[in-house]
């Protein structure tokens, strides 16, 4: 079950390009940065905004757009 701030990109047909990169929006500066599947599977690890250096939990992200 997705959290409200997580949007999943629906998978397409095998011949359709859907991309492989998930993006997160910082709740502080609203900057976007890309995150790997490994860290999204570990909600206990805080994300770090490379734009404003804010550390925040996934649940506090403004938005997460998840590929795959």
């Amino acid at each position: 079950m997705s959290k409200p701030n997580i949007e999943n990109i629906p998978a397409g047909a095998s011949w359709e390009k859907t991309g492989n990169t998930s993006w997160t929006q910082c709740p502080g500066c609203k900057g976007w940065f890309h995150v790997g599947p490994g860290i999204l599977n570990r909600p206990e690890v805080k994300l770090h905004c490379p734009h404003c250096s804010k550390d925040f939990a996934q649940a506090d992200a403004a938005r997460i757009i998840r590929a795959g």
Binding site: N20, T21, V45, H48, C49, S53
Partner: protein, 457 residues
């Protein structure tokens, strides 16, 4: 060597200089004598970059006259390992200065913030040496390190790497993982650490094979002879990766030419920094030619050995920097029936490669216009190309499907058929050429001509 006189910032500016050089097709070694750190101070430690951007210079460092012949020679040299030699601390320049306890400060190292999206300054040429707790055998690999404080970094041992395996073993035993990072050495030693070995297998002897003499090692200050470090390195950082501690690391500009995503990475607590009295900090431009060239030349040696075992007519391999680490060009001379496809299939099994092309010995592997000529005129696609899905590869490839664990790979046979019998011509048209004597005469006519205003495109 290019030694700019002015102060240059470690925040993007040194990397931008490398991009500017790359755009001009120039590959000098660059020594920044006044690197300005993020806090505005000029570091006492100069920065060297672009050290390995030139194939010609890297080949020279390996004692090879022509970079085009690096593949078979690298394969031969790493196939004749020379055991390392242990020296005492007094004979180890890298331990001339020792910073321990409260003296430890990673801030003295002029690490670069290279690309947009990088969250801070990274060590990009830090060679992480760990060991397998079961056998004691060490492993060395380049691992990026994000400098997070005076004595803390995060670093990223890729999940499939041998250093990650060693770390997991220590953690499974309930122990922190000992790690030593060392920075700066002779380019041949740096390339020896890129030799693709089994697990567990030490890189020190491969380094010795490449430099033609035993690599000088010294026991690390923190771990003694459990982790040796190169005595002639520039800087060493010793410490532990505390058990099960993971923090966000990245995004980070990768060898693919794209910014890799933020990951959960181990952290590293520093116990000791040692360095030469006049240490130079070595930086690889991540994804730039100086990072790709030594690794790709090492790959050429590895692929040469793999393919030669099944296709003896293989004569050369080129892993071009413009293909990142994903493409290999292979050259064959008078291959037997099936040999080219055997060779192509063997090369595809090499994890990093995604596309391999076989050409004849009249094609210059190091000239992309020649490669395009071969592809344009010697390939019928349904007959001469094949793909294999589900092979291992780099998941940093931006074209992979989300969640994919394997790749789709392609091989192309761009060779011509052989003559039907010895002494007969091949059943293909001859290339258009002019006599060698006419070419020599043309070169003489052009000698001394002012070409500066002539269009190149």
């Amino acid at each position: 060597m290019f030694r700019p006189a002015q102060a240059i910032s470690t925040v993007h500016e040194i990397t931008a200089l490398q991009y500017a050089l790359e755009k001009q097709g120039r590959r000098p070694i660059v020594l920044i004598e006044k690197p300005v750190m993020a806090n505005g101070k000029v570091s006492d430690i100069p920065v060297v970059c672009n050290l390995t951007a030139s194939r010609a210079l890297v080949a020279k460092a390996l004692g090879i006259n022509d970079h085009r012949s690096a593949a078979p020679i690298y394969a031969k040299k790493t196939g004749n390992p020379i055991s390392p030699k242990i020296v005492s601390a007094k004979d180890a320049p890298v331990q001339e200065i020792v910073l321990e306890g409260a003296s430890v400060d990673l801030g003295i190292i002029p690490a670069l913030k290279q690309h947009n999206f990088d969250p801070g300054a990274y060590l990009t040429a830090a060679h992480a040496t760990t060991y397998d707790p079961d056998t004691g055998v060490d492993n060395t690999a380049i691992q990026r390190c994000w400098v997070k404080g005076k004595s803390r970094m995060s670093y990223y041992p890729y999940p499939a790497s041998h250093n990650n395996r060693n770390m997991r073993k220590f953690w499974a035993k309930g122990q922190n993982c000992p790690v030593v990072f060392w920075i700066g050495h002779h380019p041949a030693v740096l390339m020896g650490t890129q030799a693709k070995l089994g697990y567990p297998e030490s890189h020190w002897s491969a380094c010795g094979g490449l430099i033609g003499e035993p690599l000088r090692l010294v026991p690390s200050r923190t771990f003694g002879d459990k982790i040796m470090v190169p005595a002639d390195a520039e800087i060493v950082i010793e410490g532990y990766a505390p058990k099960d501690v993971l923090e966000a690391d990245g995004p980070f500009g990768e060898y693919t030419g794209y910014s890799g995503p933020q990951v959960a990475a181990p952290v590293f607590d520093v116990t000791c920094i040692t360095m030469r009295k006049n240490a130079i900090y070595h930086d690889y431009g991540s994804g730039l030619t100086d990072m790709l060239v030594p690794d790709n030349m090492a790959m050429e040696g590895k692929v040469y050995g793999l393919v030669k075992a099944v296709a003896p007519s293989l004569t050369n391999v080129h892993v071009p920097a413009q293909g990142r680490r994903f493409h290999a060009y292979m050259q064959f001379s008078k291959p037997g029936p099936g040999e080219v496809r055997d060779g192509l299939t063997a090369a595809l099994a090499y994890r990093r490669l995604k596309m391999v092309i076989a050409v004849d010995d009249d094609i210059d592997l190091f000239d992309d216009s020649e490669m395009m000529f071969a592809l344009a005129t010697r390939v019928q696609w349904s007959r001469d190309s094949f793909t294999i899905d589900g092979l291992s590869g780099s998941l940093l490839d931006p074209s992979t499907a989300a969640g994919a664990k394997t790749l789709s790979k392609m091989a192309i046979d761009a060779t011509f058929p052989l003559p039907p019998s010895p002494g007969a011509p091949s059943p293909v048209p001859p290339r258009s050429t002019v006599p060698t004597s006419a070419m020599a005469a043309a070169a003489k006519i052009l000698e001394g001509a002012d070409m500066s205003a002539w269009p190149t495109l």
